[in-house]
């Protein structure tokens, strides 16, 4: 039972987080119970008509029959209205509460660096605010409402039974408890099977979707036959495990019917025995048969819902897990502010390691004076990008400190930091919106004219004019309507329009068409003019034109200085440069 208690606690926490869930819950439950009165009306009216009319010595008096029926119909009408109102209240509060919870979770997730650090977990995180919440919603609408209704029906039916004849009611109660225990046991047996089913279903879908995504590869390597076989095998395996589990479930749950029959038979036998010894009317026993019938269906619903509740609760637990996780980059409690004007940057004995212990940067100390252009070079995996993320506080160092404009980065309010420091990532991410709207992400108040000017100032006027609808051109999903080079162009303008005092830029590595590449480079040049800039350089020309080059190798800052000096030193930088020179010169 500890599992259910934990479930209860989780639900309690959810209600505290999203108060809309709890609002007026007690009244709603009372109303739902009252609404369920409709189900016990029929057995009662049957008992009355049998005992007081049909079997009465004076025979049937139709006027009385009509009166009783009218009373019953009136009760039904009231019950329906109250019950419906209760359901509406329940639906409204659960939908509102869950939407609040969902937005809250989203907001919290967005604050966490795990999103860009562990990209492979993103899909999983999306399901926190989609499928987990949807499961909860469905549970509330179908399960929750159904459980309230079914639960009140069981309680009412048992109540009427006790009122009629408590000894016979006891028989029914024992039956109900046995039945619940039996069902719970079945469910546990099945739950174990469902786990293997889920794994196999996931596996078969994985194989199938991989094969469809790989269609061009399958075609170009002529491996259609083996691909089909692989999929067919996975699907067949899945079929058998799904079928066997379903069959087991059917056998277990149909035994409920046998149990219901046994209970009915028990009520007849018990009723006759109690009736002959203690005195009970025929109408009461018939009413008992109807009431027993009222117990079985809702019990099935309750049991199924309990299972549903488990999966809803584990979804809820995952959501609460997100909300409980610490924001790894909280706003400072005692903020310090940046002075206006150009910004310097400084790293002091900075070390950065991922939670898994993987050390990316070791003991970095570096000073970047106001207005200088710094290029960062190094091989893939040397720690360049992490260095950039630390500078703009997308990550915090594991040890050591980063300061911007002489202030510890951790003490600058994030909003202030973001408005003064711009970061242009390697993959210019665009939203599924127009080019203009994408630029506006950098400066929400920017007018169209200002955006146009920004493009022109960066020498990109001809490019934006060549777009089919200019600034109104749709970028497409993840900017898919534009090439990767063009996406970075937009990202540059987006940074420019925010007129940052410190710019950190990760050059794109992907080869782009040379004309576009040159446009990009000119834009970057304009962008870095007159402000402090740190560029992760993938082109050596960038390094050549910089005031200082920082050379990273395996997480360490191994060389620094001007291009010319580093070249003559004949170290890591000189080797990188030689590689590059061999790779781009045309003659």
């Amino acid at each position: 039972m500890s599992g259910e208690q934990a479930t209860g606690r989780v639900l309690g926490r959810a209600m505290r987080l999203a108060p809309a869930l709890r609002k007026g819950l007690r009244l709603t439950l009372l109303m739902a119970m009252a609404g369920q009165a409709i189900t016990v009306v029929t057995p009662v009216v049957i008992q009355m008509i049998i005992d007081d009319e049909i079997l009465a010595p004076e025979g049937i008096v139709m006027r009385d029959v009509l009166w009783k029926a009218a009373l019953a119909l009136a009760t039904l009408a009231v019950g329906v209205v109250v019950g419906r109102a209760a359901v509406l209240r329940l639906i409204r509060s659960s939908a509102t509460g869950l939407s609040d919870l969902r937005t809250m979770t989203f907001r919290h997730l967005l604050k966490r660096s795990v999103l860009h650090v562990e990209a492979d977990r993103r899909g999983d995180l999306v399901s926190r605010v989609t499928s987990d919440v949807t499961t909860l919603q469905e549970f509330m609408e179908w399960g929750g409402v159904g459980m309230v209704i079914a639960g009140s029906q069981v309680i009412l039916a048992l109540g009427v039974m006790i009122y009629y004849e408590w000894r016979l009611a006891l028989v029914a109660l024992v039956g109900v408890i046995l039945y619940l225990l039996l069902m719970r046991w079945f469910q546990r047996v099945l739950a174990r099977n469902y786990d293997t089913v889920r794994v196999e279903v996931g596996r078969s879908l994985g194989v199938l979707s991989e094969s469809i995504s790989a269609l061009p590869v399958v075609r170009s390597y002529g491996i259609e036959g083996s691909t089909k076989e692989k999929v067919a095998d996975a699907l067949d395996k899945r079929f058998w495990i799904e079928f066997r589990t379903a069959r087991l479930g059917n056998i277990l749950f149909s035994s409920a019917e046998v149990f219901a029959g046994a209970l009915t038979a028990g009520i007849v036998v018990g009723g006759i025995l109690i009736g002959t010894s203690q005195g009970m009317t025929a109408g009461t026993l018939v009413a008992f048969l109807f009431l027993t019938n009222l117990l079985i269906e809702p019990l099935q619903i309750v049991v199924e819902t309990l299972e549903f509740a488990q999966s809803a609760a584990s979804g809820l637990r995952r959501i609460l897990g997100v909300l409980d996780s610490e924001v790894d980059m909280p706003d400072p409690e005692e903020p310090d502010h940046l002075r206006p004007g150009g910004l310097s940057a400084r790293m002091h004995q900075v070390r950065f390691a991922y939670p898994n212990g993987n050390e990316v940067l070791t003991d970095i100390t570096v000073d970047i004076p106001v207005g200088s252009r710094v290029a960062v070079v190094g091989e893939t995996g040397s720690g360049k990008t992490t260095f950039a993320k630390l500078l703009v506080r997308l990550l915090d160092p594991s040890r050591g400190s980063v300061s911007i404009g002489g202030v510890d980065a951790r003490r600058i309010p994030l909003e202030e930091l973001r408005s003064r420091v711009a970061f242009v990532p390697q993959e210019g991410f665009l939203f599924d919106d127009t080019v203009g709207a994408n630029v506006r992400y950098g400066q929400p108040e920017a007018s169209d004219a200002e955006i146009w000017t920004a493009f022109h100032e960066l020498g990109l006027g001809p490019w934006v004019e060549s777009l089919p609808r200019g600034l109104e051109t749709q970028a497409g999903e993840r900017g898919g309507n534009l090439s990767s080079g063009e996406r970075q162009l937009v990202a540059l303008v987006r940074a420019w329009i925010g007129s940052p005092d410190l710019l950190v830029l990760d050059e794109a590595t992907s080869a782009v068409d040379p004309a576009l590449d040159v446009a990009l480079r000119h834009a970057i040049e304009r962008l870095t003019e007159g402000r402090t800039s740190v560029t992760i350089a993938h082109r050596m020309a960038t390094a050549e034109g910089s005031d200082e080059v920082l050379v990273f190798d395996q997480g360490k800052l191994v060389e620094r200085g001007r291009h010319r000096d580093l070249l003559s030193r004949g170290g890591v930088y000189a080797a990188l440069y030689a590689d590059w020179a061999a790779g781009t010169k045309t003659v």
Binding site: G59, L88, R107, L110, R219, A246, S254, A511
Partner: protein, 598 residues
């Protein structure tokens, strides 16, 4: 959008057609399921009959007239149990057979979908979003066959409704008429309610799709959002779509709850009314109390199944919607055609010729036009041109991933289209920019299940410049890569894809910007080693970087779908100003910078 065109009747008609399509492939399991459903319906009617009988012969005589119950109890209890057991048997049979039908159908459809897609042209595939195709194979197949599970149940309930009205009519025509009218009212309300809420549910699903899209986009762009400090804006946007779901949910559920309330109370109302009529009929001596109890008990038992029958309409409408998307794939008939030419032995490069090749994606204009290309066996050709010039299209045509609209491409003088199925891949290897890796080991990704020796494997890895990082992986060539190889960088994935092509020693190798994510120096290294390895291949490489271009024997300069120049790199620099401008853009720029600096 289809909810406007669909009506309950059209759903029923199309639904039956769809069901028939599935059922005719597995008639035995469907037959068993329906038998089970009939058994189930019969048992329910019998159970009401038994309760009536017990009332008349046991309960009333014993409790009202004081008859001795000794001989009556055992038969009554056994009878009730026997009916329950047969009902349980009916349920097991019905549900198990229905499950078989549904699961087998899903398996069949998925296999057929894949087989069908494997026969279709890449031009069709490229028009689809892969995400949509996956959704079709996964959720749409489930949804499309969703109606098969409740189908036998619905059949059972229908039988039950017929059986009930018949039996009540047999007991007493007046009660029968009352029951018939009542049941028709319940069904009409039920179907109407289900229909209206179904259309509203569609909107909820659309809104949920929107929530998911916004979440995906925001998380994918998290780096950008955070570096711009726009978390609040994005969160508000998410809150807005989430509230949209909330409002729609409240709307649909409120409607549903209202219908549900009516449907739940109607059987109760019927029972009360029938009790009045029944009392009058007992008074007239037309029915016994037991018979009246049978009628009431039956209606009580019916209350639950009748509530569920409306959902069958949901399932039916949902299935039709899902199946429509599955059918769209099956309706595509742009199959690739094959001839009967067989591949030659591996070992020597193949000559390649393109004659008057033309290609267009749509009516909007040709991508390639009247293109002539003749390559001697063993030549390395670089294809150079600005973005959108048709380079990639050309390489896709050369690998026969697409077919030209005009002209033809010949390998060893044979039209690519005349090769037999799976033969051309033995001759030609194509490597795309986006390297696709399977959830398999590194070795498995390179061999793709074909037999190669360890030496061949390592040689291919070395040639592709992949040896270094593969040896650093935990299990070397036996390292599991995980889904889509996400643990590797783009350049590493490209190199594995390259090794996959090289190990086959293709007679024609096509590299479509296949090393774009590899560092320039590594790319040059790969291309150099390809040349020195005396690979028995004719090589066509789409490249941007001057160093890569310089390694080719010949260069074609492509712009706007035409070959503007063809020759050695040095000659083209002299003779083709467009080419020189394009290739020397970097150098020009570097020179200008140097001037500025000095």
């Amino acid at each position: 959008m289809f909810s406007e065109q669909m009506t309950p009747l059209s759903v029923l008609r199309d639904g039956i057609r769809l069901i028939w399509r599935f059922v005719k492939r597995h008639p035995a399991s469907f037959g068993l399921a329906v038998t089970g459903a009939a058994l189930f319906a019969g048992a329910i009617i019998a159970s009401a009959r038994v309760i009536g009988w017990v009332t008349d012969t046991v309960i009333i005589p014993v409790l009202d007239e004081g008859v001795d119950p000794a001989d009556l109890l055992a038969p009554a209890a056994l009878l009730i149990l026997a009916v329950a057991v047969s009902k349980a048997g009916g349920i097991v049979l019905r549900r198990t057979a229905a499950m078989w039908l549904q699961l087998r159908t899903r398996q069949d459809v998925r296999n057929e979908l894949l087989a069908h897609q494997l026969r279709l042209k890449m031009s069709w595939y490229n028009r689809q979003a892969v995400g949509d195709l996956l959704a079709v194979a996964e959720s749409d197949v489930d949804q499309g066959t969703g109606v098969l599970a409740p189908l036998p149940y619905a059949t059972g309930v229908t039988l039950l409704l017929f059986g009930t009205t018949t039996m009540i009519t047999l007991i007493d025509p007046w009660l029968g008429l009352g029951a018939l009218i009542g049941l028709i009212v319940v069904l009409v309300v039920d179907v109407r309610g289900s229909w209206i809420t179904y259309s509203m549910w569609e909107e909820v699903q659309r809104a949920r799709g929107e929530v998911s899209a916004v979440a995906h986009e925001s998380f994918d762009g998290a780096l950008t959002v955070k570096s711009l400090g726009r978390e609040d804006y994005v969160s508000d946007r998410f809150g807005h779509v989430s509230d949209e779901v909330r409002d729609r949910l409240i709307r649909v559920n409120s409607t549903w709850a209202s219908y549900q309330a009516v449907i739940r109370v109607l059987p109760q109302v019927m029972i009360v009314c029938l009790l009045v009529v029944g009392a009058a009929r007992i008074e007239a001596g037309a029915v016994t109390p037991g018979e009246l109890i049978t009628v009431a008990y039956l209606l009580a038992l019916l209350a639950f199944p009748v509530q569920l029958i409306g959902f069958v309409l949901w399932d039916l409408a949902g299935s039709l919607a899902g199946w429509r998307r599955v059918q769209d794939v099956f309706d595509a008939e742009e199959f690739v055609t094959y001839g009967d030419v067989l591949a030659r032995e591996r070992g020597e490069p193949a000559p390649l010729d393109g004659e008057t090749v033309g290609f267009a994606y749509d009516e909007e204009g040709a991508v390639l036009e009247d293109l002539e290309l003749h390559l001697r066996a063993g030549t390395t050709l670089a294809v150079v041109g600005p973005t959108g010039s048709g380079k990639s299209t050309l390489s896709l045509l050369l690998a026969r991933l697409w077919d030209p609209d005009a002209g033809a491409i010949y390998l060893d003088g044979a039209d690519l289209r005349s090769f037999s199925i799976s033969e051309l891949p033995k001759e030609v290897a194509y490597v795309a920019q986006n390297a696709f890796l399977f959830d398999d080991t590194v070795a498995g990704n390179i061999t793709l299940g074909e037999e190669f020796s360890e030496t061949e494997l390592r040689q291919a890895g070395r040639l592709a410049g992949a040896e270094g990082f593969i040896s650093e992986l935990p299990d070397g060539y036996d390292t599991q890569l995980g889904e889509r190889g996400t643990t590797l960088s783009g350049g590493q994935r490209q190199r594995i894809a390259l090794a996959r092509a090289l190990i086959r020693r293709p007679r024609l190798l096509i590299l479509d910007d296949a090393t774009s994510a590899v560092d320039p120096s590594v790319e040059a290294e790969i291309l150099r080693s390809l040349k020195s390895a005396e690979l028995p291949s004719t090589v066509v490489v789409v490249a941007y970087r001057p160093a890569s271009i310089r390694l080719a024997d010949e260069v074609v300069y492509v712009d706007e779908g035409r070959i503007l120049a063809h020759g050695a790199h040095d000659d083209l620099l002299e003779t083709s100003p467009g080419y020189a401008r394009l290739v020397q853009a970097y150098e020009e720029d570097a020179r200008r910078m140097a001037e500025e600096a000095s």
